[in-house]
């Protein structure tokens, strides 16, 4: 029952890879946006907040279609990226990673923002009176204190990215070994006669990965919190 075919192993590996790269690449921007939303006051903030949360409420197919329009080979950003840097998203695993990043982004930003909002700003003031500039204070005080929340945000976004289906299949299709992630592979299995066993195997793997991610994040968050508490 649990002997995997090469295609299935490919799908599992690709899924982990695509989700990891997508989340890792979006982390710096996610932290910046979370910081801006948590700390800055400016007109149009509510709009930025809404924009960040859009992928959470839009049908994933719409998000995928927008990605196709923007980052496709003929899309405004996609054409420019290919010309300038030779980076292509459409029908490549990089596109799947982009879709994963976009879909995980709201969850990541939300968790990091909450964590930043609950860190004690008086400690940042104390740091500044001791000679640390804003950037140094951020890295020495704010970031370590917000770490449990940042980890939680990363894992949530990762789990969301792993499960991403609609936007991925719309944006980069379902190409074995390139863009066929776990959900796409499961979907494919359900569409062919006799594919039930494969679908079931991959579904179990998906559940195991999700469960492991949640347990690891909880343990990491606890350990980090314990380290901060001393």
């Amino acid at each position: 029952m649990f002997s995997f075919s090469a295609d299935e192993i490919d799908a599992i590996r690709l899924s982990l890879w695509v989700a990891s790269i997508g989340i890792a690449a979006s982390l710096p921007l996610g932290m910046f946006v979370a910081y801006v939303l948590a700390r800055w006051r400016f007109p149009g903030k509510i709009l930025l907040d809404a924009l960040v949360h859009m992928p959470l409420v839009l049908p994933p197919v719409v998000t995928g279609y927008i990605l196709l329009l923007l980052f496709g080979r003929k899309g405004a950003i996609g054409a420019w990226l290919e010309e300038t840097f030779g980076i292509v998203f459409s029908f490549r695993w990089t596109g799947a990673a982009l879709a994963a990043a976009v879909m995980g982004f709201p969850l990541m930003v939300r968790a990091i923002r909450l964590s930043l909002e609950s860190t004690d700003r008086r400690l940042e003031d104390a740091s500044r009176t001791l000679g640390a500039g804003r950037l140094v204070t951020f890295f020495l005080i704010t970031l370590p204190l917000a770490l449990p929340g940042i980890i939680a945000g990363l894992v949530l976004a990762f789990a969301k990215a792993l499960g991403e289906f609609g936007a991925t299949i719309t944006f980069v299709s379902n190409i074995p070994g390139e863009t066929r992630t776990l959900p796409s592979a499961i979907y494919t299995f359900t569409q062919i006669p006799g594919g039930d066993a494969g679908a079931f195997r991959l579904a179990v793997i998906a559940m195991i990965i999700a469960l492991a991610a949640l347990v690891i994040s909880e343990l990491l968050a606890r350990r980090t919190a314990a380290r901060i508490d001393g």
Binding site: R122, R128, T129, R134, L140, D229, G230
Partner: protein, 216 residues
Amino acid sequence: MFDVSVQAMLGEFNLDASFRSESIVTALSGPSGSGKSSIVAAIAGLLTPKRGRIAVNGRTLFDSEARIGIPAQKRGMRVVFQESRLFPHFTVAQNLMFGRWLAGKKRDAQFDEIVALLGIEPLLSRRPRKLSGGERQRVAIGRALLAEPQALLLDEPLASLDAARKNEIIPYLTQLVANAKIPVLYVSHSRDEIELLAQTIVKIDGGRVTEIEKRR
């Protein structure tokens, strides 16, 4: 030593205080909510007044007319806050070294001297959360002293402590203040502490200076 004139609207509260003191230790005294902490924040650079001028030891830190506003991290105003504000993810030693490390200094003889003076040697490897209130405040005082201060702002350093803890710290504080070579601003609403420590007492009420008293 302190030449302060600040005007600021803080919500409904109108701060409009001016005082000058040439004493090495100046006390800022007044009831809670009178604006003492806001004045400390303005001197430290954590609050930007609407108008005014702040100079400490002849150095202008803020001047709204001349458009001078030195950022907090470059003022050298080391603050001991009422709630100590130690960094919970650092050990006591790391807390003590925070400002010193930023100033490019190492753990040296002065470090050992201040640690000994404050009697916090046994605490060095502990985390702030494991300390008593009195211990925390001693570490906070040490952290400020070790950060190459140009002036020391003590914002009710004893207010959150009970009488026994106060008595535990006052000897350290008096010794420290007696040997002070840098300007010290001591904020308190306790008459006893102030009389023990300060040569000039600035009284504040409702955001305004009501009296400046010189002693000794």
